[in-house]
């Protein structure tokens, strides 16, 4: 190495850098390429072992998409997911926004402690709670209904959202509210008319985050909901798009692609703020 000049070393470094990036990107994104190509391949092409599977050997087709939209409950699942997402987002905002504000501003030192306590409940996994919760859901008469997950999902979206919003509210200068209160607003009015409008970007992060969690959750939906018509997309696609032992891979992969890409794009836009929630305390 010592014999290498500085510039050739830099070139070598650049090559290694790109090799690492390309290898990781290809491996990590490959399943999505695979979903894409499977979705548009003719069945005869798909199941011919002689064909090169990486390319279209016959003309692409829309038959799998037609099957997906016309003969399965896919649209219904998308609708269910959107509806459940909307409800969970509403509940989360109504409870988490005031809670985060109160814990940052109105409770002094132990507000932070309570905040950490709430955040830690985010660690309690669904796989520990699903058995008792299935009974609670049954007692409430919500089994096999979309309302079961609308009730339960806020239990993990509220903790994380509260924590995330506490970080936001902390960064708002106290003087702003004090000035507003001197001008005659009550504390609660200042919260409604001043703090919420300037925290819209934080609130939007919570909306996106909550919505993606609703689409990603699997265990509770699997436990509480048993009929295909009431599923969300994250459960309906992998569990109910299979008839007996027959996988309709073309339609299945099309469903996977449609269900994951929009969420991925949204999530990507808000990722940095989301990660900040996990790293608060260990990064300064």
């Amino acid at each position: 190495m010592a014999a290498l000049s500085k510039s050739s070393r830099r070139i070598l470094g650049g090559i290694v850098h790109w090799i690492v990036l390309v290898v990781f990107a290809v491996v990590l994104a490959f399943p999505f390429y695979w979903m894409f190509i499977t979705s548009f391949k003719r069945t005869s092409d798909l199941y011919n072992l002689k064909n090169n599977p990486f390319i279209f050997n016959e003309r692409p087709t829309l038959e799998h998409l037609k099957l997906l939209f016309n003969e399965t409950l896919f649209l219904r699942w998308l609708g269910n997911t959107a509806f459940a997402g909307l409800c969970v987002v509403t509940i989360t905002l109504l409870l988490a926004v005031p809670a985060a504000y109160a814990l940052t501003r109105l409770t002094g030192r132990w507000g932070q402690r309570v905040g950490i306590g709430i955040f830690l409940t985010y660690l309690v996994p669904p796989t520990l709670l699903f058995i008792p919760l299935s009974r609670i859901v049954a007692t409430l008469g919500l089994q096999d209904s979309l309302w079961s997950i609308i009730l339960v999902y806020p239990s993990f979206t509220i903790p994380f959202s509260t924590w995330l919003l506490m970080g936001f509210f902390k960064s708002i200068p106290r003087e702003l509210e004090d000035a507003a209160m001197v001008d005659g607003l009550s504390r609660f009015q200042a919260f409604l008319k001043l703090v919420i409008p300037i925290s819209l970007s934080g609130i939007l992060t919570v909306v996106i985050f909550t919505f993606t969690l609703v689409t990603q959750e699997f265990v509770y939906a699997l436990t509480f909901i048993s009929s295909a018509a009431h599923e969300t997309v994250g459960l309906g696609v992998p569990v109910f798009l299979v008839r007996g032992d027959v996988y309709y891979w073309g339609s299945l992969m099309a469903a996977c692609l449609i269900a994951s890409l929009p969420i991925a794009v949204l999530y990507n836009l808000f990722l940095d703020r989301f990660i900040a929630g996990f790293t608060v305390g260990s990064v300064k």
Binding site: F24, A25, V27, L28, A29, P31, F32, W34, M35, Y47, L49, P53, L94, L95, A96, P98, A99, Y101, L106, T107, I118, L123, P125, P126, L128, L129, F130, I131, P132, L133, S134, I136, P154, S155, S186, R187, F218, V219, L222, T223, G234, L235, V237, P238, L252, A255, C256, A259, S260, L261, I263, A264, N268, L271, I275, F278, T279, G281, S282, V283
Partner: protein, 295 residues
């Protein structure tokens, strides 16, 4: 009511609804899980009888449980080791700005941001017994026998390997972005001073940057361990614990026993085994948070 009195009342009025909601849907079932595990609850049963540690005794005697417990550790440790190594390398490659970074980052994030159940079903197709694209490549390069290609999800060892690798695939982006966040926040002066003093790339990496990154790597590992040890999605979709329970993990076994098998008590007893790990992780996390608060 005086302004001060109203303010004292306002705080609790704003945070109590959230706390009560979480307490009702996490605290109550958490307590119930313990209660079930020492009782005799079945799906249709009405009464409750205390049976002491009976469920735990029967669980511990079952070979399926012991396999699942061992698998859970294998699954968690091996995937987290792979994730940590992969994520550190990847974060290193991504930390400086370069043309196309946004797009590469998007591709790399896909496994984490797409619903994991859907990513797993994608892998199920890639690992298909007949049409696996991996086998097609292996056969093309004469690395596998055309007439008995590897059954990725059908042979115990390969199935475990597949489950671990798919979970690693899913978790890698998450650890990468956390480590990346830590790297960007790292003070630049110390590594730069070391570079001026003649410390090479690897020396700086292993003796300065990685030690400085320890707190943030802890965060990535702690979350990773929890999200892995308590997850059943990848296993459920790829193998359902098979072949012959060889890839069964604790959460999936709890699901099959407690939810599908209707034996709530035994299912609860199985899932209770994740609690010690949760406690340790929560404690470590509080310590990290506390240390950051003090310094």
């Amino acid at each position: 009511m005086s302004a001060l009195g109203r303010q004292r009342w306002l705080g609790p009025a704003m945070f109590l609804p959230a706390i009560l909601y979480v307490a009702a849907l996490i605290g109550v079932p958490f307590a119930l899980a313990f209660l079930y595990s020492v009782g005799d609850v079945k799906v249709a049963s009405v009464g409750y009888h205390f049976v002491g540690l009976e469920n735990f005794r029967s669980v511990l005697q079952s070979p399926a449980f012991r396999t699942a417990l061992r698998n859970s550790f294998v699954f968690t440790v091996s995937s987290q080791v792979l994730v940590l190594i992969g994520a550190t390398i990847l974060a290193l490659a991504l930390k400086d700005a370069f043309r196309g970074r946004g797009f590469i980052r998007f591709l790399i994030l896909l496994p984490w941001v797409a619903p994991v159940s859907i990513g797993s079903i994608g892998w199920k197709w890639i690992l298909d017994s007949l049409y696996s694209v991996i086998n097609w490549v292996l056969i093309r390069f004469h690395l596998a026998n055309e007439f008995s290609p590897p059954m990725w999800l059908g042979e115990p060892k390969l199935a475990m390997l597949s489950v671990v690798l798919v979970h690693t695939w899913h978790m890698l982006p998450f650890a990468t972005v956390i480590i990346l966040a830590g790297w960007t926040a790292l003070p630049k002066d110390i590594p730069e001073a070391a570079a001026v003093d003649g410390a090479g790339f690897f020396r700086r990496l292993f003796q300065i940057e990685i030690p400085m990154m320890r707190p943030i790597m802890n965060v990535a590992v702690l979350f990773g361990v929890i999200f892995t040890f308590t997850d059943m999605t990848v296993v459920y979709i790829l193998t359902r614990g098979g072949p012959y329970d060889t890839t069964q993990v604790l959460p999936a076994l709890a699901f099959f026993t407690g939810v599908l098998g209707s034996d709530l008590a035994e299912g609860a007893a199985i899932s209770i085994f994740v609690v010690p790990l949760l406690v340790v992780v929560a404690w470590l996390m509080l310590r990290t948070a506390h240390r950051a608060e003090v310094t």
